[in-house]
Amino acid sequence: MNTQASYEYTFVEEADYSFSKEQRTDPDPKNGRCYEEYFPDKDLVEAVQLAIDLQQPLLLEGEPGCGKTQLASAIAYQLTQTNRQKKTIADEEWWPFYTWTVKSYSRARDGLYTFDAIGRLRDAQLMGSNVGGMLDAKTIAEIKDPKTYRTFGALGKALYDKKTKKAPEKRAVVLIDEVDKADSDFTNDLLLELDEFRFYIPETDEPINPPPEPPIVILTSNREKPLPDAFLRRCLYFKIKFPEHDLKRIAQKRLLNLVVTQDAFIQPIIDRFLGVRQAMNQPGSRAPGTSEFLKLLEAVDRRFSKVKTMDIEGLHAILDELPSSLPLLGTLLKTEADQQLYRSKVQKRSSPEDAG
């Protein structure tokens, strides 16, 4: 098998995105991951390919629901497909993809490794009281080895392969999601790791050296907090725009089996959705994004499949219920305040007194 992997992220719609959900799901239950289908614009494809070629982390920003998080799995998915076709990986193999979801309490070290000191203590005491020789020599050797107790995090796995005990052959895709959630020390503590892709484990006295080719690192931020310049300097940056003119294509690709994504029905739903976005376009409100649009389609489709005659009038009747129907509106607007605001705007528009 040719071992030279391909790192081309040239989005080819028909060739690469014709797989069912089952075909996109990693069969390893430990991963339990479905690799997303994604429809990037030309600029985003360019940004991803630059990040891969220049070996720089790519920082993505954009409004919630615009697909920042999905992009990383889409890259892993395409690399899987491309390299399966080129036979650089086995047919059943999946491209290495690791996710690290940052929390407000996350520390930079968590993504590299964790050390189970308590487990080591427990085992050491167990070994000390090895009554009757319960523990065999192999177990005792494991307990004595501090490496038994270190577990690699997402970035650590991408830099060190535990099985081969050296740097991985393939450039794994690493998603560091919502990097702005932690405080600024978090990003400052990651500077070396993102710059040089190496770190040191003091507990085991192990230096993890940079691999010949670094992993493909995708970071996402909702800009809850500004990120330090020192961190930004080390990243390429791309702001994902809302795909207003691509909604039909995205809907038809992502939800191919739904009746409402057919040409005859999709446009009124898009119009209604864009109306909600426009109504919510004000400070303090959150306009729904692409992921909410897809959920709306699924919700409308569920209702539409129950009407007697599935025609455009029936669809309009369902869409007219949007302001009053909590299950439908809830797919788009997540807070009571936003829902009230939308209802009041719809009411104002339909009320002749107010309109005058």
């Binding site: 600029d43 360019e46 940004a47 390919q49 630059l50 070629d53 220049l54 720089q56 920082l59 920003e61 050390f115 000191a117 308590i118 080591r120 203590l121 050491a124 005491q125 501090p146 107790y149 405080d183 600024s184 020390d185 990003t187 507990e203 931020s221 800009r223 907090k225 500004p226 990120l227 330090p228 310049d229 930004l232 300097r233 990243c235 390429l236 940056y237 791309f238 702001k239 400070p283 303090g284």
Partner: protein, 370 residues
């Protein structure tokens, strides 16, 4: 020749392609480093077919969500650079007809937004304050050294503010001296290989947060240029966790977000997020000293606010930029008494000796006095 690549091909054949673009970006305020230029050169290996391609490439490499890598600045410099390159090509090839689409006159006649400059990039002699307070720059000799005084020459810089904040938050007492430090206990176990004893949290383990309330009343406006580094230290993520709020006169029921000045935030909501042992509040206001008039409402309102605040936070500092003699007979004097001396002037900061400044200006303030 392709219209989209007019002037581009000549640039691509230069030994250091687009070095002048990189330099112009830096001069306009983009804090690009040689690494950024190196990335551009590597990016060019992938090929650019048009100015649009080049702009996209440069934007991905150089624009970031920060004032130092501002998109607006980037786009303006790039546009001007493209125009210049195309005009040079037109001059060099007068015998060739110039494509109609590229006549740049219309664009040139459009009003151009000046490139945004950061406060520290202003030359002191060029700085223009608001007309009402503009005065000749004071110059003279002090201890054999020439000196100038302008609002932005005040002894506050982002780096000083950041280092001082680190020191200040490290002084923050924990109040929980008998709390087990799990992380350090685990580290000790890992180091020793056996659980010998627990490690207790020493004082200074709690993470402090800085909350700044800035008065926006007219009397404060002349001081805003001087305070810009401080604001940028917060908004730029140099000091974190930290929050900035605006108020006018004295904080009442609502304060206003720094990023979006029109969005009001209830005082109750802000108070609920403060922490008795971790939050340090810095109030920047003249306390009514600028107007010089007595204002009982302001004193009463401020007293209520401080009363509420004191029960929610660890420390309160008040910076009053007006000279201390101007506080007399104004609400500022009464507020200073309420604060038991924790109101200081910017004059006090200017008077701090150089070696004290080197250790951080805020450390000279009466921080821990209770």
């Amino acid at each position: 020749m392709n219209v989209d690549s007019w002037g581009l091909e000549q640039k691509l054949t230069e030994p250091e392609p687009f070095l002048d673009l990189f330099t112009e970006m830096r001069e306009a305020g983009m804090q690009l480093t040689l690494k950024h230029y190196d990335l551009l050169q590597k990016g060019l290996w992938r090929g650019v077919a048009s100015w649009q391609d080049l702009q996209r490439l440069c934007a991905i490499l150089w624009v970031k969500p920060s004032d130092n890598y501002d998109r607006q600045t980037f786009e303006q410099v790039f546009r001007q650079y493209q125009q210049t390159c195309q005009e040079i090509v037109v001059e060099l090839s007068e015998d060739q007809p110039m494509p109609v689409e590229l006549v740049p006159i219309a664009t040139r006649e459009m009003p151009q937004v000046p490139v945004r400059l950061m406060p520290e990039r202003y030359q002191p002699s060029k700085f223009l304050g608001p007309i009402g307070i503009q005065t000749p720059t004071a110059q003279g000799k002090l201890s054999g050294e020439s000196w100038q005084f302008t609002p932005i020459a005040l002894p506050i810089s982002i780096a000083q503010f950041q280092s001082t904040w680190r020191r200040l938050k490290s002084l923050q007492p924990s109040n929980y001296s008998d709390e087990i430090d799990i992380e350090r206990t685990k580290e000790a176990i890992a180091r020793q290989g056996i659980f010998a004893d627990v490690v207790l949290k020493s004082s200074g383990q709690q993470q402090s947060e800085l909350v700044i309330f800035v008065d926006e009343k007219a009397g404060m406006l002349p001081y805003f240029p001087a305070l810009q580094p401080l604001f940028r230290a917060i908004t730029g993520g140099w000091v974190s966790p930290a929050r900035l709020y605006r108020f006018t006169g004295y904080p009442c029921k609502f304060l206003y977000s720094w990023a979006t000045p029109h969005s009001a935030i209830g005082l109750d909501g802000i108070m609920a997020r403060l922490h008795r042992s971790r939050s340090i509040v810095l109030i920047i206001s003249d306390g009514g000293a600028a107007s010089g008039a007595d204002n009982p409402d302001r004193v009463l309102g401020t007293a209520k606010f401080l009363d509420l605040l004191q029960s929610c936070v660890s420390q309160i500092l008040w910076i009053n930029p007006m000279p201390e003699p101007r506080w007399r007979g104004t609400p500022a004097e009464e507020i200073r008494d309420l604060l038991e001396g924790r109101m200081v002037t910017l004059d006090a900061l200017v008077g701090v000796k150089q070696h004290q400044l080197a250790q951080g200006w805020m450390s000279s303030l009466p921080v821990g006095e209770e």
